[in-house]
């Protein structure tokens, strides 16, 4: 049976890149698929050229080519990432970590209740969270880009971990809340409790997204991509 050469495999990788598949993990799966199909076509008709066989198989993916596959893969991994964030977040509401969560919430609550310029304080705190978030985000994705330049391989889940764009959008929410909150009188118990809990939750999310998950990135990447360990060993 005729098999594909290494050069032809490289050509298939190039082909997926030409059709907007940026990520190596997805390229690899599609390359194997295309290769299998081409070899199967050769078995039936040994005369068909490599490029013709490739075009025949590619047509089966429809008018949008690999686009749909890429999009759905992004959604699936995005979901996996959200689940990961949620898993870590829940840890802060179970023993033993809940002690830290409760302590900081109560402390904030007391400060909010007893500080006269509470509006400025709350706005400043949220601004701080936001600014540190954006700065770290910038540095992490830059570091990720540099890594990509040296390895030449982009991993979708890695891009999500170090780019976490889906969560960046959520960071504006507190400001909508702040704009619509009336601070004219002293802050009530309910408001104080709400803002202390909101702030602690946001700070926790930031800590999880920027520190905890990136520190375990290798582990999560190996879990998602068995080939990740294989590739990086070479």
């Amino acid at each position: 049976m005729m098999k594909l050469t290494s050069e032809q495999i490289d050509r298939l990788y190039q082909f997926t890149r030409q059709h907007y598949v940026e990520w190596y993990d997805l390229q690899t799966e599609l390359v194997d698929h295309l290769a299998n199909s081409i070899e199967a076509q050769w078995q039936e008709n040994p005369k068909i050229s490599f490029e013709d066989a490739l075009q025949i198989e590619f047509k089966k993916f429809g008018v949008f080519g690999f686009m749909n596959v890429v999009e759905k893969r992004q959604l699936a991994l995005q979901k996996r990432y959200s689940k990961l964030v949620w898993k870590h977040f829940k840890e802060f509401f179970t023993i033993p970590k809940i002690v830290i969560t409760l302590f900081s919430t109560v402390l904030l609550f007391l400060i909010f209740r007893n500080y006269s310029q509470v509006e400025i304080l709350i706005t400043t705190l949220f601004m701080l969270v936001l600014i540190t978030f954006w700065i770290s985000l910038f540095y992490q994705s830059r570091k990720n880009k540099i890594e990509y330049k040296t390895t030449g391989k982009k991993w979708l889940f890695k891009d999500i971990i170090f780019g976490h764009s889906s969560f960046a959008g959520l960071s504006y929410i507190p400001f909508y809340v702040l704009i619509h909150t009336d601070f004219s009188q002293n802050i009530g118990i309910l408001k104080a409790a709400f803002f202390s809990l909101l702030f602690v939750s946001m700070a926790l999310c930031e800590y999880i997204i920027l520190v905890i998950i990136p520190s375990k990135a290798e582990e999560y990447l190996k879990e998602t991509y068995p080939e990740y360990a294989l590739e990086n060993a070479n």
């Binding site: 098999k3 594909l4 050469t5 290494s6 495999i9 690899t28 799966e29 599609l30 390359v31 194997d32 698929h33 290769a35 299998n36 199909s37 199967a40 198989e57 089966k60 993916f61 429809g62 949008f64 749909n68 596959v69 759905k72 893969r73 959604l75 699936a76 991994l77 979901k79 996996r80 991509y225 068995p226 080939e227 294989l230």
Partner: protein, 111 residues
């Protein structure tokens, strides 16, 4: 079968059933197996297969293994424990559905 709308909702169940029987499979193998079993009547499109596999994987129903075969990497899918349990439920659901469709399409059979 030309009308792919008819099997779209069952694609996940078909994939899981195959994986239960075969242990582990790769994408291309799944398309070929379905074609073989149904004698070419049912044709899973590539554009639908991979999204379905990736979704099942994200839901924790499938696990992946990667191996070097010939001069390329091959990604195999297999059922997780959760996937095996889920497979039983979905098969039962699908069978129930087929039965109901039969009574609608061919009501006399039910009497």
């Amino acid at each position: 079968m030309k009308n792919s709308q008819l099997y779209k909702g069952s694609l996940n169940t078909i994939i899981m059933k195959l994986l239960e029987e075969q242990g582990r499979m790769y994408g291309y193998e799944i398309t070929q197996k379905v074609k073989e079993i149904t004698k070419g009547e049912l044709n899973i499109t590539e554009g639908a297969l991979y999204p379905a596999l990736h979704k099942l994987e994200a839901d924790g129903l499938l696990d992946v293994e990667v191996e070097k075969v010939d001069n390329r990497l091959r990604k195999y899918y297999k059922l997780t424990e959760k996937g095996t349990t889920e497979n039983v439920n979905r098969l039962a659901e699908l069978e129930e559905f087929i039965k109901n469709i039969q009574t609608i399409v061919n009501p006399k059979l039910s009497y």
